[in-house]
């Protein structure tokens, strides 16, 4: 009889232990990939090839984080940026979803508005800044306009796509069960388009966040973008790096604490989008 003993290698042991460990603590699984990146960064900084003011070590950024948290600058700037983004996104959704429904449902609205939409989408958010600065000056109006403008297009375009992807039968089923045409929009079109609207929101937030940082760099008097640009003026590479890291972490938080839970509770639950862990 063939008694092939398959031995478990050391690597398999380590890998197995890692998989079991991250299964128990899923949050850590997304942190582990950063370990070699930070280690490499620390090694290069520690080698002393570049002067610390030009290429600071990770620990310097952590210390800067501590200082800016303690003196309240970072929390205040973070709050300013997040509030601007949230307000701009809310306004973008409030305008974008109804507009998307209209264009998706009405052939006439589609004919009238679609070419305009594509044209204005092409004029990127930042390209509006020169004229906005002349019209509205260096202030909140300009920044809000840029964010709303940036969020609006992905939301509208994806809502239209979502409305058009709702199966005809679902709409007909609602009507033959006694729903009025207006009611059917609320009961069928809107929930049917929701997965696409979420995609629009996700893209809109991503673009909006970038647009906000750009607007803060040019227009701002506060916010993370302003922090980074102000640091450049002072020549503080540490602060610029800190700003960049804050941007990345914040996006991760928005994605996993806001967007992903909504998607789990809607489209994934209903079987409209397949889950991929």
């Amino acid at each position: 009889m063939n008694t092939a003993v398959v031995s478990v290698s050391r690597w398999q042991r380590v890998w197995g232990a890692y998989l079991r460990w991250t299964a128990r603590h899923p949050a850590l699984a997304s942190l582990v990939p950063f370990v070699p990146v930070v280690a490499l960064w620390a090694a290069v900084a520690g080698a002393g090839v570049f002067p610390p003011a030009f290429f600071p070590a990770p620990i310097a950024v952590v210390q800067k984080f501590g200082t800016l948290m303690a003196n309240g600058i970072l929390p205040a700037y973070l709050e300013d940026s997040v509030v601007r983004l949230a307000a701009g996104t809310a306004l973008g959704l409030a305008l974008g979803i109804p507009l998307g429904l209209l264009i998706g449902l009405s052939d006439r609205a589609h004919r009238a508005l679609w070419p305009l939409l594509l044209f204005f989408q092409a004029i990127g958010d930042i390209a509006w800044l020169p004229i906005l600065l002349i019209w509205f000056g260096f202030g909140l109006t300009t920044m809000t306009f840029v964010i709303v403008y940036t969020v609006l297009f992905p939301v509208v375009l994806n809502t239209v796509l979502g409305v058009r992807s709702v199966p005809l039968e679902l709409h007909r089923a609602a009507l033959s069960l006694g729903a009025s045409k207006t009611r059917a929009v609320w009961e069928v079109v809107l929930p049917g388009a929701l997965p696409n609207i979420m995609t629009g929101l996700r893209n809109g937030l991503g673009f909006g966040w970038r647009a906000l940082i750009a607007a803060e760099i040019i227009v701002g008097t506060s916010g993370i973008g302003f922090l980074m640009f102000d640091a450049r003026r002072a020549g503080s590479v540490v602060e610029i790096l800190l700003g960049m890291i804050v941007l990345g972490v914040l996006w991760y938080v928005v994605d996993s604490w806001v967007l992903a839970p909504i998607e789990r509770a809607t489209g994934q639950r209903w079987g409209l989008i397949t889950r991929h862990d």
Binding site: P167, L170, R172, S176, L177
Partner: protein, 252 residues
Amino acid sequence: MKSLSIEHLQKTYFDPFANRQVTAIRDISLAVEAGDFVAVVGPSGCGKTTMLNLIAGFLAPTGGQIRVDGRAVSGPGPDRGVVFQSFALFPWRTVLDNVAFGPKMRGVAKARRHEIAREYLALAGLAHAAERYPNELSGGMQQRVGVVRALANQPDVLLMDEPFASVDAQTRMTLQEELTRIWEQRRPTVVFITHDVNEAVFLANRVVVLSHGAVLDDIRVDLPRPRAWDALIEDARFKALAAQVLQQVRSA
């Protein structure tokens, strides 16, 4: 009493690419008694699905008239319940809320409409699935929900568009038997579209054969009820009727 009456129904489409009118329904007249079960069969392109969409009000006829319980049809409405081949359940609603949808649109209070929905779900042996979402159910169970959802709205006419065409053969036979049982209990007026001759004869009191947008034949099925496949599959009268209908369909 006539529940559904169709008079000289006609439907033509304009085909902009061929630049001509295409006739889907040439001339159909049909009267269905209240509480009757009529199956409509015919080859692909005979106009049977177009006819159902016209009765449902999803399409507007180019000629003739459709009346349900004396009222002229001018669009979709809750007096005509529809069961779709694709089930068309709302994925974002639980089974219970799918079935309660019709009563909800009528403004029935939540407790009462859930009571109605549970009663109809029990009728199809689905009481246990009430809190689940459609994507968690098999195709056969989804279509049971589809039938029950239409019935729970108590329509004057139940329109079924090849409802069992997309489930497997064994499930189909079970669904057919369940449908005859429910029909005997509740006696809804049913117009059942199918291309399956055996299914038509098994379910219906009348089989209407369509050909090129017109009625070719109207065959009465006086098999005793309750009907079950075990008994009928070798039944001489069933086989003779099925053969008669099949011959008409193939000549259509």
